[in-house]
Amino acid sequence: MQSERWERLKEIHTQLIKLSQAWAGKWGYDPDRARELRREAILINHSHYLSKISIYQKLAHAEGIGELDDIEPIKRKLMSTDDLFKSYHQDWLDRKDFRGMNEWLSSIFHQRIAIDTDGVRTIDDWIDRLTAHGIIPAYSSGTTGAFSFVPRDKPSWYLFTTAPVCYLAPVLIEKGLGTWLQNILLKPMGKLLSPDTFARAVKRMGLPDFDGIFLNFKKGNMGIQLVAQEFARLFRISTFLYDIELSASALRCITRGAKSEEDQKLLQAFQAGTIGKKEENYARIIRRLRESTAEGQKVFLFGAPYQLKELVEIICGSGKKLALKPGSFILFGGGWKTFEGEKIQKEALVKMIAETFAVLPELIMEGYSMTEINATMPCCDYGRFHLPPHIEPIILNEELVPLQGKDLRGAFGFLDAFALSYPGFIISGDNVRLQDESCACGVQGPALTEVGRSPGREIKGCGGIMASVRA
């Protein structure tokens, strides 16, 4: 990117993060200013993608679109779908063709990836090799085992990790997670310090009277994993359900089957460390919960809904209660189905958690995010996932035409002002209700009030197919 544009974009990002703090902290947020800055950043991103990201160039060329001074054409014609991030050929991974994967990743990244792949035998090796060269690919896994890879470089990674710290801090402080000193200092720090300095200060101060319990792996590049790893830095100690690294290769083998002896060994090791140690792992977690409570520590518990359900069932099954220290906090996110596909009702889960851990329901919070977005959206006490100011939400009808209005239902899309290294104009696989009106919680701007998956593929009469088939 040209240096003046880059400097301008950095300046916009800084201002947007500051605005997001004001927005989350409810201290004098200016939504018009945020919109203006956000849209300017989006147009700079568009220009950047046009010159640097080949897949975006192809799409823009097909639509006859060049430089823009208005975001409407982007909304109508240049939003990719989240499938973009799994548009590689699955047999490249099957054949361990990581050079092919690099070529593909280059097409959705703003730089050519010409990293040597000698010795790269697994997806984990590939991720490590990329990371060592400053490209951090976060991934998520669908039920078919087709991974989405979202590549971020260091500046993007900074935004991905720093911005949420800045605007989630006021949310967590409001929930009572901070110390009395943090309560006092938050607002002036937020106003006076740059986002980078603020984030470093927050991380340094941390939440020392909390211990972190994460129903995740202690290391890994999966989206929800990365969130856990970032939070883990804040606490006195952090304990993970799986004391091993999450292996992307092993995860892929679970759904797609091991294709080689090497894969088989990887899968066995993974299963041994997870399913094979399930009771032991949960026992360790429960022990840690008790110990932290006995030591006078509050607990920050994080996991997916089905994992929390599992944990609660094990605790209740033992017949012994586990009341955490008052002020403990539970954060969950991810799909609402168990491994077996059983759907869990949110209200039922919150009740189970509140009763098992003697935690107030207002200290049990859901977060909404996805690997493709540089935002984490906490659910407020009134059931709304508020969108931070750097996200321009777009709701699309089934024809993928953007809708207008203050109360909309349809496919959730967004223009992400913080997406630098990959095309951040995305139509997700979620169907939502977006309401742009005042919320009783005091946070301004649009919020998602219902989140579900987009309708599955419809079978078209006789020509329809009953299951996924390669042709």
Binding site: A62, I427, G461, V469, A471
Partner: protein, 532 residues
């Protein structure tokens, strides 16, 4: 037919917003209650826009979105249909003796007379047929020319010659024509093996044991339930025809989106032959798929002897799971392909593209034999050349048969183009800003679940047509192959992998009386072959 329409106030106007649709219940036309539009609209008011069915008092209500035939866009309005409710118990025929002495005893020649009578009545009442056609057109998703030809083709389905060919061939065994077995017991020249028990009995009790008898076979009719699909308007009538030809006491479920053709046929049957055993034992009805109240009764053992299910996977799996003790015939969801050898690049490109497009355009790519994927043997450049030629041919089809594309299909296309398949080569024909038809050349494998089946052809390049074999399975119904020499060489390899039909390119909609369908001689499965 005209008199019935007048008496029952049926199909009197072309442009109506509320159509009262009769059902046929064991030969009697049952009319729905009179319900006015405001009441119907109120019933749908607080429901989601994609709700198509509601019960209101003693009526079933359907709504279908209206399509502007010029712009081929949804207008936002609906046509409503009011249908009577059904009582599942009433539709089941449990008086077997009545069937034995009535319908089952009727000679096959009477079936042909029935069809001839119905055909004649339809022929003499083209004004009514036309009105039903125009009513259907308002909401029909098929292009106008397809709809027009479907209705014009109704007499062909009723043709006694076709009926005879189907029965004589599909029910033919022991070198005898099928109608003989339908008509009664047929002695066949079989060498009847003496049974072990009778041999031993003969040794024990000479002169007292039974003699070995003659071999006699009969194709006994059965009581049939046909759950049909709506992707092609002819399907409900083809299924009804099979039931009629096999002298079945039958219940035919019309699909959503195609209730009017069933109602028209019912009207014609009652007008032509109200007292005929076929009419008296025929029901053409509608219920919402999955209605437990109805299906629990229909799927009970002994309710029917045969259940025929077309299309939608939910219907297929529902019957598989719930009608455990009733023999079923499934027409599973399937798709067609085309295989084009490199010979096409020796100057035949345009002609071959015309033929492969013909196979794609079977019921506007909605039929289970329509070609969805074209495998082209050649280089990448050649595959692109083929794709471009095909695109031009599809553009001509767009002119001849402009199509309505569902908003969800348009959305799915956009998702494909802007996501998973962004690196494919998209060659599209547009009508204004909207998709009309097109071809996409995929650089790699493609998930058939992603196919929108809306006049989009997926082209896959292969080095050798043999490479296509690994993609063949029971889900592929039909392969059209060019050139003929390659088709003959590959034919058995293709068929052995589960494909039912291998035809010359361009001929995949081939039909003839007595033709196997999805690997089955269907009429033979609909009767019960008896020894007596």
């Amino acid at each position: 037919m005209k008199k019935l329409c007048e008496e029952l106030n049926l199909f009197t106007k072309e442009t109506v917003e509320v159509i009262h649709v009769p059902l046929l219940v064991k030969g009697k036309l049952v009319m729905p209650p009179e319900i006015k539009k405001p009441e119907i609209e109120a019933a749908f008011r607080n429901l989601t826009p994609d709700t198509t069915y509601v019960k209101l008092g003693a009526a079933q209500l359907l709504r279908e979105p209206v399509i502007d035939r010029k712009t081929l866009k949804l207008t936002g309005e609906y046509v409503y249909q009011v249908l009577p409710p059904i009582s599942a118990g009433e539709l089941i025929e449990s008086n077997i003796d009545k069937l034995i002495h009535g319908l089952y005893a009727m000679p096959f020649s009477e079936v042909l007379k029935f069809l001839a009578a119905v055909k004649e009545v339809v022929g003499k009442n083209q004004d009514i047929v036309q009105r039903v056609l125009e009513m259907s057109r308002r909401t029909a998703q098929h292009p106008d020319v397809y709809l027009d030809r479907a209705f014009a083709g109704l007499p062909m389905l009723l043709d006694p010659g076709l009926a005879r060919a189907m029965v004589e061939n599909e029910l033919s065994v022991w070198g005898k024509p099928g109608s003989q077995f339908l008509d009664g017991w047929v002695e066949v020249s079989a060498a009847v093996f003496p049974s072990l028990a009778s041999l031993l009995s003969g040794e024990l009790f000479p002169d007292q044991s039974a003699e070995a008898g003659k071999a006699r076979i009969r194709a006994l009719p059965t009581r049939q339930l046909h759950i049909t699909a709506g992707n092609a308007p002819a399907i409900p009538l083809i299924s009804a025809l099979r039931a009629i030809l096999t002298k079945s006491a039958a219940v035919i479920k019309s699909p959503y989106g195609a209730t009017l053709p069933g109602a028209l046929f019912a009207l014609a049957a009652v007008a032509a032959a109200p007292d005929h055993p076929i009419t008296q034992n025929l029901s053409i009805v509608y219920w919402q798929g999955g209605d437990e109240r109805v299906e629990k009764v229909f799927f009970m053992p002994q309710a029917f002897d045969r259940i025929v299910v077309w299309g939608a996977p939910e219907a297929v799996t529902s019957v598989q799971q719930r009608a455990l003790f009733t023999r079923a015939v499934y027409f599973n969801p399937r798709y067609g392909i085309s295989m084009i050898g490199r010979e096409v690049f020796a100057g035949n490109l345009e002609t071959v593209a015309v033929r492969s497009a013909t196979d794609t355009m079977i019921w506007n790519q909605k039929a289970c034999i329509a070609s969805q994927v074209h495998y082209v043997e050649g280089s990448s450049e050649q595959a692109n050349q083929y794709a471009e030629a095909l695109r031009r041919v599809l553009a001509a089809w767009d002119g001849k048969a402009p199509q309505f594309v569902e908003p969800s299909a348009l959305g799915r296309l956009k998702r494909m183009r802007r996501g998973k398949y962004l690196d494919a080569t998209w060659l599209l024909n547009n009508r204004g800003e909207d998709f009309a038809s097109g071809v996409v050349v995929m650089p790699g494998e493609f998930d058939i679940m992603d196919h929108p089946m809306c006049r989009l052809v997926v082209v896959r390049r292969v080095d050798d047509l043999q490479d296509v074999l690994k993609y063949l399975h029971h889900g592929v119904s039909t392969a059209g192959v060019y050139p003929e020499e390659r088709r003959l060489k590959l034919r058995d390899s293709i068929l052995a992998r589960g494909v039912s039909n291998v035809f010359p390119l361009g001929q995949c909609e081939r039909m003839f009386g007595g033709m196997p369908h999805d690997g089955m001689m269907v009429l033979s499965l609909l009767v019960d072959w008896k020894n007596g």
